[in-house]
Amino acid sequence: MIQARGLSKRFQDKKRGEIRAVDNVSFTCQPGKIYGLLGANGAGKTTTLRMLATILEPTDGTALVCGHDIVEQPEKVRACVGFLSTATALYPRLTARELVEYFGRLNGLDEATLKKRVDDIFNRLDMNGFRDRRCDKLSTGMKQKTSIARTLVHDPPVMIFDEPTLGLDVITARTITAFIRECRDRGKTVIFSTHVMSEVEKLCDTIGIIHTGKLLAEGTLAQFRDQHNEQDFEEIFVKVIAPRYVPAETD
């Protein structure tokens, strides 16, 4: 489970002064559910997810991930989180197997468990054909599978996806969305950010709309449709953010 409580992140910029990238954001993600964080570019999605993954430290507020405080116990939090984004690249000079094993060892797995886990994941994701190929020689789809294997190797109960399909072709993107669903079906807590409305409609159990660092609205797809008397989620999204809309800069 993820419980974000008043999460805030401010950055200092020489030209623009203080920037409130995330401003007092609170939400809860339940196990076996997918929470979609929806927002335009620069809304604060990536910063929020990076704080949950303890890559960034919140300026104010905190969050509990699997019962661990992200500020107090960042290493314990990371041990129970699988984090995947288009920015999390692979080590080009390691093979797919070496890379997954490296992250397994960093997560404290013993050699016997690691071998079993790696074999299991490579079979499940049909990766045996390229397991000993260097990551810089892999196709985009193979790289995505390797990234997925990396996030799964320690079998984390919480999965965080930051715009995981950004820039991917339809086939590769479908691999990712199928994987996100599978995580939910296995009872994991899943949070993912996107600005693609169709993904939200297809995947999310709960949706949070974030804009200029603030969580403006939260609910299920049905609740949003009822509340705004509108079926097209893109229209709903625009209605929610319209009062506060100013073209934002990227995260």
Binding site: E57, A79, A87, T88, A89, L94, E98
Partner: protein, 404 residues
């Protein structure tokens, strides 16, 4: 502190580095090939060029000498001297290297000698031009022998012993060990090389493991794993240190082998058959090892400083522009230590790099000033620890890791 995690990062970085052509080039190939190419290549080439110049006949010109036919005839018979007809603008010919040397025989030269009057022969040369100096040497040798013959003739006529020509000899004899002689000649070179190579070896991995990782997008991947940032930076640091020491060690081995090759190879014979002198290099293994012990904290210092600076960069290219000026920061004190007259003082003993360079020069000569050794080792360890501490702290800073 989990040594297991530090070891995991180290092993992974080592594996990746060994698969990286650029790292292998900068850490292994360049230090191994640099000295054979420089020392043997240039040594052979130099010996070959000197040998060629010494075998080539020198084109010379004779000014005057019409009333000294014996001298002019004698010059004409000297092997490897080719006399060209006299022209007035001989200075131009010398500077254009058409004529290597011009000998000016004063009027009445032979007659003056016969009368026992003091006179002088002038040789005009192109100072610094090797072939000109060879031409001048051949002319000088002829006149020197001519002078001896003249004196010998006079002594015989006066029934005086020939030993009067040279009543006594002057001999110089070296009383210092070969090691000290080598240290005086090359003493500054080994520490300079070790220090420079520690820096060169650390530079590429320091950039690759920090800015390179940011550029490739793997920094976020590793930061999302449970490893602590302290363990991460220590694992990376150990790899940079390994590369730094490996480069320095390989350079010294390569330099030693190159000198050995020079001393035992045909280059030495070629050089010795010419007119040049060749300095023998005798530096003990103990001296080289003690230089390495002193270089250890220096390598730690370089590795930590280079990593910290490179971490600020967002890309490999940006890191290069930050680190290139660092080479001068290292070279200047290392070169300063090679200058004659600079010796260790308590004040210089706390200036990083310069202190180790000066001390290593003494160590190579077999001189062990223990107070300085301890002071310099400890002060360099202190600087190295401070640099490593800063590197660890920098890895905790989001503004550095995610600089935009």
């Amino acid at each position: 502190m989990s040594l297991r995690n530090v070891g995991l990062v180290y092993r992974k970085e080592l594996l990746e580095s060994l698969r990286d052509r650029r790292t292998l080039m900068s850490t292994i190939l360049i230090p191994l090939l640099l000295f054979p190419v420089l020392a043997v290549g240039i040594g052979y080439m130099g010996a070959e060029l000197i040998g060629q110049a010494s075998r080539e006949p020198s084109t010379i010109m004779v000014l005057g000498g019409a009333d000294s036919p014996e001298v002019v005839q004698g010059l004409g018979e000297v092997k490897n001297l080719r006399i060209v007809p006299t022209v007035p603008d001989y200075v131009n010919l010398i500077s254009n290297k058409k004529v290597r040397a011009v000998v000016d025989i004063p009027p009445g030269f032979q007659a003056a000698i016969a009368r026992g009057e003091r006179t002088a022969v002038k040789i005009y040369i192109f100072s610094g031009d090797l072939k000109s100096s060879f031409g001048a040497a051949r002319i000088e040798k002829f006149f020197s022998e001519y002078r001896d013959t003249t004196v010998r003739r006079s002594l015989t006529a006066e029934k005086l012993p020939e030993s009067l020509m040279k009543p006594f000899d002057i001999k110089q004899e070296n009383v210092v060990s070969d090691e000290k002689v080598a240290a005086e000649t090359f003493g500054g070179l080994i520490p300079y090389l070790v220090i420079l190579m520690c820096m060169t070896g650390a530079m590429y991995p320091a950039m690759d493991l920090t800015a390179g990782e940011k550029e490739r997008g793997t920094m976020e991947t590793i930061l999302s794993s449970p490893i602590s940032r302290t363990h991460l930076v220590l694992g990376k640091f150990l790899l940079v240190l390994t590369a730094s020491l490996a480069t320095a060690a390989l350079s010294v081995i390569s330099m030693g082998a190159s000198f050995w090759g020079l001393q035992h190879g045909p280059a030495l014979e070629a050089a010795q058959s010419g007119d040049s002198t060749f300095v023998q290099l005798h530096i003990g293994l103990g001296a080289v090892l003690s230089v390495f012990v002193m270089a250890l904290p220096v390598a730690v210092l370089f590795s930590a400083v280079l990593m910290t600076i490179a971490l600020f960069a967002k890309t490999y290219k940006e890191a290069q522009s930050y680190l290139t000026p660092m080479t001068f920061v290292v070279i200047i004190p290392a070169v300063a230590a090679m200058l004659p007259g600079i010796e260790l003082t308590p004040k210089l003993a706390i200036i990083p790099i310069l202190n180790v360079s000066l001390l290593c020069k003494e160590l190579v000569a077999g001189t062990y000033h223990w107070t300085f050794i301890i002071l310099i080792f400890l002060s360099t360890c202190f600087y190295a620890a401070a640099a490593l501490f800063i590197a660890v702290k920098m890895f905790q800073r989001e503004s550095v890791l995610f600089r935009s």
